[in-house]
């Protein structure tokens, strides 16, 4: 197996097309983004003091006022820390006027339920407000359930929620998020999904009905599963090295502030690489399709998913979130982007973990599908 891995590595490293698309392309496109968006390294977008109106039509739910208070006040008046929210008004009419003028990022309504109104073409700041509210609502449901089942523990639960709110607030304030950095998140997601090209050839080169090379391998005594695994190990290794070199170039040479530690980038790169290769392996394993068609499907998948996660248009993910949020929960490109985004903006690893879990499920499904399709040793026709 080591001999096969060694030669697969040589083969991939010498393949100029592979090197270009997996390392050259993100480096070139990253540089173009960098030039197009100006010197991002120096830009410091302020995501504090987001102007928000809170309209209370009914009594607020338990903990809501504490959360709003925590997010709209600083701990220390001498501190340079600014609060996340600036509660501009609690008057509905005035709030509407301010929103029309573009001076308000969100109106939070409390009317038995908690709802949100954001201006047309809502941006990152509105997204931050939405995420904070979503987080609160999910915790509120947990607390409500706990209040019924364990009312004696309510003080501890509320205290825990307050701590959580403070955590969100402090992390949100310290996050160094630039609105253009999401293009770089998308770039890494796309580079990860481009691994599908290698995954596809990995599958094709090991099946007698798809290539002469596959036939030569299949008539040898090596196990088919072991052979594909050795190939996948080599492609994953190369892909990750390329991805991490490209990432290091973006972070350390161009100075792009991803807002996350580099080890997180390495972990997410690994996952996106596994996902890309699994996707390619799956498409490559489909019998009866020509290589050109498989290539076209892969390219459409990679670019399409990246487009929907905001590669070409930054507001796309938010648009999808408003109209079809489930898609953002299952779109692998959006999940990869969200791993960076959520950690950068909210400082929370919780979202990353759930995203990673979904990505792993994707990988497992795609690899299982590939194995089912390729497990046959004999073919009806070649």
């Amino acid at each position: 197996m080591l001999n096969r891995i060694k030669y697969e590595l040589f083969s991939l490293l010498r393949n100029k097309i592979v090197v270009f698309w997996l390392m050259g392309f993100p480096v070139i496109l990253g540089t173009l983004f960098f030039v197009a968006f100006g010197s991002l390294a120096d830009s410091e977008q302020d995501y504090s003091d987001i102007p928000v109106a809170v309209i209370k039509r009914t009594e607020t739910p338990e903990g809501f006022d504490q959360m709003i208070k925590a997010l709209s006040e600083t701990d220390n008046s001498d501190s340079e820390d600014k609060p996340l929210f600036d509660i501009v008004t609690e008057d509905e009419k005035k709030a509407k006027e301010l929103m029309e003028k573009g001076e308000l990022q969100a109106i939070i309504y409390v009317d038995g339920n908690i709802s949100l109104e954001v201006p047309e073409g809502a941006g990152i700041k509105s997204g931050i407000v939405k995420s904070v509210l979503d987080s609160f609502k999910s915790r509120y449901e947990i607390i409500s359930a706990a209040a019924v089942s364990n009312p004696e523990k309510m003080p501890q639960i509320i205290k825990a929620m307050e701590q959580e709110t403070n955590y969100i607030r402090s992390e949100s304030n310290s996050a160094n998020y630039d609105p253009y950095v999401q293009y770089f998140y998308n770039l890494l997601a796309m580079s990860g999904l481009f691994g599908s090209m290698m995954g596809m050839y990995c599958a094709i080169n090991h099946q007698a009905n798809l290539s002469a090379l596959g036939a030569r391998v299949e008539i040898s005594p090596v196990s088919k599963f072991g052979d594909i695994i050795s190939s996948l190990i080599a492609t994953l290794l190369i892909h990750n090295i390329f991805l991490n070199i490209a990432s290091a170039y973006l972070v350390y040479i161009l100075g792009i502030k991803f807002g996350v530690p580099f080890w997180v980038i390495i972990v997410v790169n690994l996952l996106s690489s596994v996902l890309g290769n699994s996707l390619g392996c799956f498409i490559g394993s489909i019998g009866g399709l020509k290589d050109v068609i498989k290539n076209a499907i892969l390219l459409a998948c990679s670019l399409g998913l990246c487009f929907l996660s905001g590669l070409m248009f930054g507001g796309m993910r938010l648009l999808i979130e408003e109209s079809f949020p489930l898609f953002n929960r299952i779109n692998p490109a959006a999940l990869i982007v969200d791993c960076f985004y959520s950690l950068c903006v909210y400082g929370s690893y919780e979202k990353i973990i759930s995203n990673i879990a979904i990505l792993l499920i994707w990988c497992a499904l795609l690899l299982t599908g590939s194995m089912i399709m390729t497990r046959k040793r004999k073919y009806k026709s070649i």
């Binding site: 002469a212 030569r216 005594p221 004999k378 009806k380 026709s381």
Partner: protein, 309 residues
Amino acid sequence: METVVKVERLVKRYKELIALDHLELDIKEGEIFGLLGPNGSGKTTAINCILSLLTYDKGEISVFGKKLCAEVKRNIGVVMQNVAVLNELNVRENIDYFCGLYISDKALRKQRVDEAIAFAGLEGFEKFRPKKLSGGLLRRLNIACGIAHKPKLIIMDEPTVAVDPQSRNRILEGIEELNRQGATIIYTSHYMEEVEQICSRIAIIDKGRNIAEGTKQELKKLIKNTETISVEAAGLTDEQIDAARSMPHVYECRYDGKALTLLYSGGKHNLTRLLDYMHNEEIPMGRVYSLLPTLNDVFLEITGKELRD
């Protein structure tokens, strides 16, 4: 001699098309067994079934007396019709990669790779990548990749397609050398002279059936023609042509105004008899040819002359 490959009543269908129709083959140890047949006759399908790449509808196949398994596969080498090498690896690396599928011991593999390079005449090209090789060298690399692990059974599916005569000769000599070293070889080709040159036994397949099998001599006995004599002679009269036609063992006589061609079925001294007649009649003659039947004649007579796909 022990049987190396035995195919019994093999049937393979592609929907309505019967690719193999109760095919029978019995290939003995130490043979170079030629598999001949027109396009679409079922040669490659038969090989793919033997190699267990294709499913089949009926029949039995055994290799070295067993069903194909990893242990049996270790002793099989295949040279595919299409060149199957990795374009990013050089000659030595390619041979080592494919040899590594059979031999894990590094030292033994190195020895085998060196031998394969020498055998295929690829010395001096070890560092070349496939794209830098000529068509002949590429074919030789393809062969080296298939035989480097020294298999006991080598299956070669048209290994000399699109190869120049020099490279072809080199390949054929190599195949004979492999056979001398003890390998049993199954060889398919469209080139009759190749098969005639190297194969000890030949099967002619048509429409999925084994329609003739034997040595070259045995196959040649299956057809009517035993000798073809052609004499350049202008201005023969009808009487002279009729006289030639009525000579013993002549079954066909053609005259185009310049040359007389007689096809014989058996008989001895046919040429002497014809030349005596021409001499007695004082017919001026140019060049005289006497041709024995070739495998090509056998092939065309058995499989017919109509075009195939």
